[in-house]
């Protein structure tokens, strides 16, 4: 759809912007909704993954003979049951894929590369038998020195994770094999001259730990390979089509034989885009000729699925005394885990792009080490980079004695300004968001003793990508809208609202469905904050085609030209000299469908190359107990540009959820490792995501600067809300305690240590 169909600014919506009860709400609050682990088939076996006790070891041989003898065991699989997919990075979308690495993440081949890396799996009639058998698998290991920190990975004589891995990237790269998988650099202007020109420079070294998305539902799947080689998979995933492709390549099956049904999904945040167990369940099912179900425990989720990178960062900003940024520079090192693919590129692209600055050098390295391979986590990389940038901007505001929001407004990008990674921004709402924050009552509220207020900003590109939708009209005038995007944040309600808006019917008359890979057109995953934007676009387009059919049917019934029929809020209305025909409701037309040409069904597919970026600003009030170092968020406000909020409740939910995850990241979350690289806190008791009582009600402000790329003006909203919190909380901590924390999390022992040593240990 082209920009001239944009109505986001002018159109008066009747249903968009309302807050109907979500269609899947009743099933979810009554516990009837079926998530991954709820699926079962007759004759089903229980599959378990067998995981590495070492963080780094070569597999010399595997003997499964004893395991196969355990009563109840029907199949034991190892690397030998999977095709050897070659390692190699294939550009795809904005980044790329490495199918060989994906295959090796699921089932170790030459080496195990992290503690908990699966190297075998067992299917048996009981989970217990499968576990017992797993213990009897004999592996001849060549235990290797694990690489457990960025320092170790970069050391001259570091053990190399991947023999033959040379550093990619178009900047001077190290010679020979390296744990540096990739380097990225964005440069502009003259960085040396820029800093020369600066009146004031702020800089700092920052560190963030590896953190997990913490979705509430562990991975689970059910697979059934049948006699004819066809294969069905049920799993909670962000993208069923992606699972289909991964299962096909990793398990070695023709894609046409694979059907994937997405179950309800209990959170993903990027972590349910990759597959971990689905191809294994398929291979077990193929070998055992029975359906196989695998359910990961929470502990396995922590050890075996993908968190986001830990980082070490250095950054500096040079500014004129009037606050104008004249030079920015970064060096970021990100932990990729076992295989290349950390989000350092996105961190570099986002870090200083909200601010104009002609002279910049943004450099980052993607470094492999013996930790779980990272997966996407909500605006991958951006929160990490923003922690450094927004902390420094806060320092700069203090040095220049400037209001931190004013300083950001002064340097903020607007339409036509160039992002550091190249393109110019279209219509964006960053300044509007900053101004809305400055005038919000929260920003003007008084603070008490031991309290501090922090402000930080952030943005995310948002994605377009491929989506399909099918809309059909029932003979009672109700409608069904079917897409292939699992509903992870209320998207059923949003799809139904957009369909209802175009049809002109109550949203309760539209039933939204999430289809399997055989029943809907291709959809890229639910990710990149793209579903309401791109899939919504397909829904609007398909519904508009349906409306054209409805007009044509009315024209047939009235025997007038199509042009003489207008669609007005659920009714065909005759115009242009045929006004005497009056109007005909959707119900009337639907009832006569069989007489006027048969069923009305339309499908549409879109592939928008771009989406409208979303900007957000967060305000955090933190109170710190100076005797214990315990901090509490006492007030928190998220202000963000949604373009157009389709269902405001779910927009607010995204704002609040992102803030909650970011606050946890800032204050308490971190993987703890023992000396051998084993995660010590593989559970929610000691991996501390915030619980409800840890947080205040998070206030939200939806700013709407319509996105001209979408017919209603929608921007993605899911990811931006996790970008600012790390900086916002750190800045609040700075103002509450006088100490600048450069290392996350700001857990009570660290805070007290810093307070007791006057900030020396922060």
């Amino acid at each position: 759809m082209s920009a001239d169909t944009n109505e986001g600014q002018e159109r008066k919506f009747k249903r968009i912007g309302t807050r109907p009860i979500r269609h899947d709400g009743l099933d979810k609050v009554t516990g009837r909704a079926r998530f991954g682990a709820d699926y079962a088939l007759p004759g089903m076996l229980h599959g378990v993954m067998v995981r590495s006790p070492y963080a780094h070891a070569r597999i010399l041989s595997i003997d499964i003979s004893q395991a196969e003898k355990v009563p109840g065991v029907r199949a034991v699989v190892t690397r030998d049951d999977f095709p050897d997919v070659p390692i190699g990075w294939i550009p795809a979308g904005s980044t790329g894929v490495d199918l060989g690495a994906n295959a090796r993440t699921v089932m170790a081949r030459e080496k195990v590369l992290f503690h908990g890396h699966a190297f075998a799996a067992v299917a048996a009639t009981t989970e217990l038998a499968a576990r017992e058998a797993g213990k009897l698998i004999k592996v001849e290991w060549e235990v290797l020195t694990p690489v457990l920190s960025l320092e170790q990975a970069l050391a001259k004589d570091a053990p190399i994770l991947h023999e033959g891995q040379e550093t990619k990237g178009d900047h001077p790269t190290p010679e020979g094999d390296s744990n540096i998988a990739n380097q990225v650099c964005f440069e502009g202007g003259d960085i040396a001259a820029g800093f020369e020109e600066a009146d004031v420079i702020v800089e700092g070294h920052f560190e963030t730990p590896m953190v997990h998305q913490g979705y509430i539902e562990p991975h689970a799947c059910l697979a059934n390979v049948r006699e004819d080689g066809t294969c069905e998979v049920w799993c909670p995933t962000q993208g069923a089509f992606g699972v289909k492709g991964e299962v096909a390549s990793i398990a070695g099956i023709e894609p046409s034989l694979v059907k994937v049904t997405p179950t309800e999904i209990g959170g993903g945040f990027g972590g349910k885009i990759p597959v971990y167990i689905e191809p294994v369940a398929v291979v077990l099912s193929r070998k055992a000729a029975r359906p196989v179900k695998i359910t990961m425990s929470r502990e396995e989720v922590f050890r075996g699925s993908g968190p986001t990178s830990g980082s070490r960062m250095w950054a500096r900003i040079g500014a004129k005394s009037d606050g104008t940024f004249v030079a920015v520079e970064t060096k970021f090192d990100f932990e990729a885990g076992a295989f290349r693919g950390s989000p350092v590129g996105a961190a570099c692209m986002t870090v200083f792009s909200p601010y104009n600055c002609e002279n910049f050098r943004i450099f980052g390295r993607d470094i492999v080490l013996n930790k779980p391979r990272v997966a996407a986590y909500r605006a991958p990389g951006a929160p990490i980079g923003a922690f450094a940038a927004e902390s420094l901007i806060d320092e700069l505001a203090m040095k220049l004695d400037r209001n931190p929001i004013d300083l950001r407004i002064q340097n903020a990008v607007a339409e036509g300004d160039r992002a550091k990674y190249g393109p110019r921004f279209g219509t964006i709402g960053f300044k509007e968001v900053l101004e809305a924050t400055r005038s919000h009552p929260h920003y003007k509220a008084e603070l008490g003793p031991n309290q501090g207020r922090g402000v930080a900003a952030g943005f995310w590109f948002n994605a377009g990508m491929q989506s399909s939708a099918t809309v059909s009209v029932n003979d009672d005038g109700s409608a069904v809208v079917r897409t292939g995007n699992p509903d992870i944040g209320g998207s059923r309600a949003s799809m139904a609202l957009m369909c209802a808006e175009e049809l002109g019917v109550d949203v309760a008359r539209v039933r939204p469905l999430v289809g399997d890979t055989d029943s809907v057109g291709y959809c890229d995953p639910t990710g990149g904050s793209r579903v309401t934007y791109a899939t919504g676009m397909a829904v609007i387009e398909a519904t508009r085609q349906v409306v054209d059919h409805l007009r044509a049917r009315a024209a047939t019934i009235w025997d007038i030209e199509l042009d003489a029929v207008e669609w007005q809020d659920g009714n065909a209305v005759a115009i242009n000299g045929s006004a005497e025909k009056g109007s005909m409701s959707l119900e009337d037309i639907a009832r006569k469908m069989r007489l006027t040409g048969g069923p009305i069904v339309s499908s549409a597919s879109v592939n928008p190359p771009a989406a409208g970026p979303g900007f957000g600003v967060h305000v955090c009030d933190l109170e710190v107990d100076p005797e214990t170092g315990v901090s509490k968020v006492i007030r928190y406000t998220v202000v963000q540009d949604a373009g157009k909020a389709i269902h405001p409740t779910y927009v607010e939910g995204q704002y609040q959820g992102g803030a909650a995850q970011g606050i946890g990241w800032a204050l308490n979350e971190e993987y703890l490792w023992d000396a051998e690289g084993k995660v010590e806190n593989a559970g929610f008791l000691d991996y501390r995501i915030p619980v409800a009582s840890d947080l205040p009600m998070i206030d939200t402000v939806i700013v709407e600067v319509a996105n001209p790329l979408h017919p209603y003006g929608v921007r993605g909203v899911g990811e931006t809300p996790i970008v600012p919190p790390l900086g916002a909380v750190a800045n609040a901590m700075r103002h509450a305690t006088g100490i600048r924390f450069h290392r996350l999390p700001m857990s009570p022992p660290r805070v007290l240590d810093a307070l007791d040593s006057d900030g020396a240990s922060s």
Binding site: L128, T628, V630, K632, N668, L672, E680, R688, S693, P748
Partner: protein, 290 residues
């Protein structure tokens, strides 16, 4: 031993429970199950026999008299905290009980489970010790009474012998002008395990000075710890700064914590001092109000 091969028994009297526990070495008491079931999930294996003791009336009874409280070992935490008499007589014990797990967990969790699990970080144990609570134990050779402070021998180790179980707790009525308090530190607000816990009980003399005191620390030693020196520092004072500082210093000195994923040695020692003074202030104010 696995769940598939375990037996589940629900005796209705103490003798029945003792007989089951004495007969089978692999039998375990199931009260609230908030530790037992979690440990099973973590790979500890299922006991040979689950002895569910919640059908035994004596273990679910609450009797409050002029002597004090006698309360069944399996009374859930929620019922204890919601009992207004208990809350007003032993507010420290009540608040420790209310800190265990979450609201849902408290519907099941019990003092006896907290005690018999013998974790150094148990919340109810320091508070019960501060109030002089006694555990009544039933076994094959009859009943015996063991004060809570002598019950735990080390992490995971108790005085219980084969066939024995805790059937009741007794807490003596608080003396006039006395009160208790319990505080713990966790990084979150709930669903967590104490980094440090501190229970304090004080009794005032006619002049309003502290006549006697008990200070108990949790999570800073293999077992909950009476800190006599901290109690001595409080006695005779009206919580003047010097007394509080001395008590805090005594608690820091007495604490012998470990470095683990929940806190460092240095941090735990500091917090032991902070919580001692804070709990002492609360107990003192409560005693003054009586």
């Amino acid at each position: 031993m696995t769940l598939e091969t375990s037996r589940f028994e629900s005796p209705t009297d103490v003798e029945g429970a003792v007989a089951l526990l004495a007969a089978e070495g692999g039998a375990k008491v199931l009260s609230g199950g908030t530790d037992l079931l979690v440990q099973m999930r973590l790979g500890a294996g299922a006991p040979q026999v689950f002895v569910d003791v919640k059908r035994i009336p004596r273990l679910m009874a609450v009797r409050l008299g002029s002597e004090g409280l006698t309360i069944g070992a399996s009374v859930p935490a929620a019922e204890i905290f919601e009992n207004e008499s208990i809350r007003s007589l032993w507010p420290g014990v009540a608040e420790a009980t209310d800190l265990i797990g979450s609201t849902q967990v408290q519907g099941r969790a019990t003092w006896s489970g907290n005690l018999c699990n013998a974790s150094p970080a148990a919340d109810s144990v320091p508070a019960l010790m501060a109030c002089g609570a006694v555990a009544v134990i039933a076994g094959p050779s009859g009943e015996r009474r063991v004060s809570v402070d002598a019950f735990i021998k080390g992490p995971g180790k108790t005085v219980l012998r084969r066939g024995e179980l805790v059937v009741e707790f007794e807490i003596p009525a608080p003396p006039p002008r006395s009160a208790d308090a319990y505080l713990r530190l966790i990084p979150r607000t709930e669903m967590d395990i104490a980094v440090v816990g501190a229970g304090v009980q004080v009794e005032l003399d006619d002049g309003g000075a502290i006549a006697s005191a008990r200070v108990v620390l949790g999570a800073v030693a293999p077992t909950a710890l009476f800190v006599e020196a901290a109690a001595s520092a409080l006695i005779g004072s009206r919580l003047e700064d010097a007394a509080l500082d001395a008590a805090a210093a005594a608690s820091r000195a007495a604490a012998t914590p470990i470095d683990d994923r929940r806190g460092t040695i240095a941090y735990r020692k500091k917090i032991a001092g902070v919580l001692t003074t804070r709990a002492a202030k609360i107990a003192f104010e409560r005693a003054q109000a009586r």
